[in-house]
């Protein structure tokens, strides 16, 4: 009976490790362009490799086909490790985000665009070879009406992980 219990315990441990492993197939990419400052572009990648979460930052854009074709990316300006818990926090924030709410907050009535060159935010979550991308123009404009608070929270969390000042990105 004891052997059986131990076997069950081992099986449980094994399956929980497996579940943990599955949950780290995701990678986050936050690309901010059209900033009214120098550099006007920032890209932050957050992913897990060998049980450690890695943050990589670029301030120079590189061609999108590199991502698209899964080619090797140019060397990051800055790269360092962060704890897995911090990665998991971003993941949890993303999972709590309701796309339905985002769509409901979309501006579906005619309105003039008031920016010559707006700041564009692109948040991408990639799981193996599939992904979801959220593209948002000027998220700090009418944030509440556009239901963009959860989206901004994720961006702020990633910017904070990149040790950058979120005030520089949201103009507040």
């Amino acid at each position: 009976m004891k052997v059986l219990k131990i076997l069950f315990l081992l099986l449980f441990l094994n399956s929980s490790c497996f579940a943990q492993q599955w949950s780290h197939y995701q990678a986050f990419f936050l690309i901010i362009s059209g900033l009214k400052q120098n550099p006007n572009y920032t890209r932050i990648d957050l992913f897990v490799e060998n049980d450690s979460a890695i943050v990589e930052i670029w301030t120079e854009p590189f061609p999108e086909y590199i991502d698209y074709m899964s080619f090797e990316r140019p060397k990051a300006d800055t790269s360092y490790f962060v704890s897995i818990e911090k990665f998991d926090k971003v993941y949890e924030l993303f999972m709590a985000l309701s796309i339905e709410q985002l769509i409901n907050g979309m501006n579906l009535q005619k309105q003039d665009l008031t920016w010559d060159e707006p700041t564009k935010f692109r948040l991408k979550i990639k799981v193996i070879s599939e992904y979801i991308i959220l593209d948002v123009v000027e998220p700090s404009f009418n944030t509440q009406e556009r239901n963009l608070e959860p989206f901004l929270d994720i961006c702020k969390e990633i910017i904070c992980l990149a040790k950058l000042n979120s005030k520089n990105f949201f103009g507040k």
């Binding site: 769509i103 193996i128 991308i133 959220l134």
Partner: protein, 172 residues
């Protein structure tokens, strides 16, 4: 009293119609890529251009624009079909039901990756001038239920039906 009733009815109809006219700037794009020789890259775009006129544009081999990923209005087309507002709204409302939570948990199941010529990559976008949500899914017809892609496949089928294209050409 009768006049009041008629007035109330008219008001009700007016309120209802204004509720449904909320997708003025919404555009839905479905892009399908396969490794087959024919129809290997095709895009369907659903949008409204004039008041109460809805279009479905079909473009074969659309150009990939890596330079400006924020080119959201993909309205170049080889064939344009006029569709009803009802059909457009039905697809728009189905698109609202897509959930990031269930789709991402489905993405972790790797068994959708087939190594043969039947691979299909589907890019589905819901956009308005300020924001865009994109889903990139592989072989949605494969293990659809387990990967929580029922609604996603339903939307693809409805768009292909409106475009008078055979679903089976793309998804076997």
């Amino acid at each position: 009293m009768k006049l009041l009733k008629i007035l109330l009815l008219l008001l009700f109809v007016f309120v209802c119609s204004s509720c449904f006219a909320q997708y003025e700037l919404l555009q839905i794009n479905l892009e399908i890529q396969t490794l087959k020789e024919e129809n290997n890259h095709i895009r369907f775009s659903l949008y409204q251009e004039h008041p109460d006129t809805f279009f479905l544009g079909i473009k074969r081999n659309p150009a990939l624009n890596f330079k400006d990923y924020t080119t959201w209005l993909k309205r170049d087309a080889d064939t344009i079909i006029i569709i009803s507002k009802d059909n457009f709204n039905k697809i728009a409302e189905l698109s609202l039901r897509l959930s990031n939570l269930s789709i991402i948990s489905g993405m972790c199941k790797t068994d959708y990756i087939l190594i043969n010529n039947d691979n299909v990559a589907v890019n589905f976008e819901i956009s308005e001038p300020y924001s865009k949500i994109s889903y990139n899914i592989w072989n949605p017809n494969y293990n659809t239920k387990e990967r929580n892609l029922d609604t996603f496949v339903d939307i693809c089928k409805k768009i292909l039906l409106l475009a008078e294209s055979d679903y089976k050409i793309f998804f076997r």
